[in-house]
């Protein structure tokens, strides 16, 4: 299993934004991301294509900021695919949530390191 966070990318973020600030940024992400995942599910349920794409887009963008490469790639796939067959979409979201849990755990460790 690959690491959830790309160490080089994360180190670069710390170097350019400052380690203290990155702690704050991780807290913000961990606070915001569950809402975005919920928005994704809700948009799927409501058939809201714009909301669906936007939530995936935001998750992708944030994931890449922290070097959460796999999470970013999965979110990007959802963004590009848009609303599709409900069962397939639901499976994608479930996989995304699992990857988010992995990334959140790793980010939490990095924050407390």
């Amino acid at each position: 299993m690959t690491t959830a966070i790309d160490a080089a990318r994360f180190a670069e973020l710390q170097a350019t934004a400052g380690a203290d600030f990155v702690v704050e940024l991780i807290d913000t992400f961990l606070h915001e991301a569950p809402g975005l995942l919920a928005e994704l599910r809700a948009a799927r349920a409501a058939g809201d294509a714009d909301g669906y794409r936007r939530a995936a887009h935001s998750l992708k963008s944030n994931a890449n900021t922290f070097g959460a490469t796999a999470l970013g790639a999965q979110a990007r796939e959802i963004e590009l695919a848009g609303l599709g067959e409900p069962a397939a979409d639901a499976a994608r979201i479930t996989a995304l949530e699992a990857e988010y849990a992995r990334a959140a755990l790793a980010l939490g460790e990095l924050r407390d390191a």
């Binding site: 913000t28 915001e32 794409r53 887009h57 935001s58 963004e79």
Partner: protein, 347 residues
């Protein structure tokens, strides 16, 4: 350093992105204000001044494309530089942003070094644009500056009824040869200052200065109720100002400054000519050529102000003028009636 201490507005619906961009900007010495969507951003932009906008595309309520469209149609905000920062997919979206006037596009996650360079370049461009505007303000009247601004420096013209004026200094070449260059420049600066005051005071616009000569237009770009009378009155003011200048104590013992003025009225094409980088407001048409010929003719007939028949007719009984009869000018098929305006009167 122009890129230090600028005020930027960061627009992004995502809090992590907002915080990170604001952090990057603050580390670069700028001040960042935050907005979470396009609508909020526009409200802030219309309320307080910013030097630059960092704009996300995917946003609820009002997205970045809509913001760009709004900015483009807003006279006050049209020149605000915008850098689009987005993780949006597809080259067509980038192209669309640039077409809508975005200065630049940075893909998220934004590289801080790249961000710094782009911001520096954008602010420098804005500084140059502001400088250009300032130059326009200095060399044109407020009306022209505003007209240029409103038309977005649109090249191309329209036909208007206007009055053209040419003026130059009598015996300027020999005067320049008899005194040091510094004195000549000083003399020219004084002369131009006086002429600008007289011309803009009557609603005219100086649009060309070459050596000791200048061209002014009355009735364009903004219409004047009575362009012919305005031009004649400006000419009388110019002669009066030159007289006053000649009587100044530090002019004692020096040869008096004398000017000749030619004025003609008619239908002209007015507009901006040149390129987007360097444009000048000008008029072309018979009246313009005729005004130049009349100005040259002042030397021949020994009068300071000459007008054509159309201008004479426009001022009518308000003004004393001497009919000099017809003269033949180069480039004119038939003879032209000339009128000398008697100096020292008010319309």
């Amino acid at each position: 350093m122009p890129e230090r201490g600028a005020r930027l507005l960061v627009v992004d619906d995502n809090k992590v992105n907002r915080l990170l961009l604001a952090r990057s900007l603050e580390l670069q010495g700028h001040t960042a204000a935050l907005a979470e969507n396009g609508r909020v951003a526009l409200e802030r932009l219309r309320r307080e001044p910013f030097d630059l906008l960092l704009l996300d595309i995917e946003m609820p309520e009002m997205d970045g494309i809509q913001v760009l469209e709004e900015l483009k149609s807003d006279r006050q905000l049209r020149d605000l530089p915008v850098i689009v920062t987005s993780a949006i997919e597809g080259l067509d979206n980038v192209v669309r942003c640039i077409e809508l006037g975005a200065e630049d596009y940075l893909h998220k996650p934004v590289n801080p070094v790249l961000l710094k360079a782009r911001i520096g370049a954008s602010l420098e461009k804005k500084r140059l644009r502001d400088q250009q505007k300032e130059l326009v303000r200095r060399f044109a009247t407020r009306e022209v500056a505003e007209d240029m601004d409103a038309s977005g420096f649109a090249l191309g013209g329209h036909r208007v009824q206007a009055t053209a004026m040419f003026s130059d200094i009598r015996g300027f070449t020999s005067m320049a040869e008899q005194q040091p260059p510094e004195a000549t420049i000083e003399l020219l600066n004084t002369y131009y200052t006086l002429m600008f005051d007289a011309i803009s005071g009557r609603g005219g616009v100086v649009n060309q200065m070459v050596g000791d000569g200048l061209m002014a237009i009355f009735g364009a770009p903004l219409p004047l109720a009575d362009p012919g009378a305005a031009a004649v009155q400006a000419a009388l003011d110019m002669i009066e100002l030159i007289d006053l200048y000649n009587r100044e104590p530090d002019r004692a013992g020096k040869p008096p400054l004398a000017i000749g003025i030619g004025i003609a009225s008619g239908s002209v094409i007015a507009g901006y000519t040149g390129t987007q980088q360097r444009a000048t407001y000008t008029c072309v048409g018979d009246a313009v050529n005729l005004a130049a010929r009349l100005e040259a003719h002042t030397k021949v007939v020994g009068h300071a102000i000459l007008t054509d028949a159309a201008t004479r007719l426009a001022v009518g009984e308000r003004c004393r003028a001497e009919a000099l009869g017809a003269a033949t000018f180069k480039g004119k098929a038939g003879p032209v009636e000339c009128y000398a305006i008697v100096p020292g009167q008010k319309l």
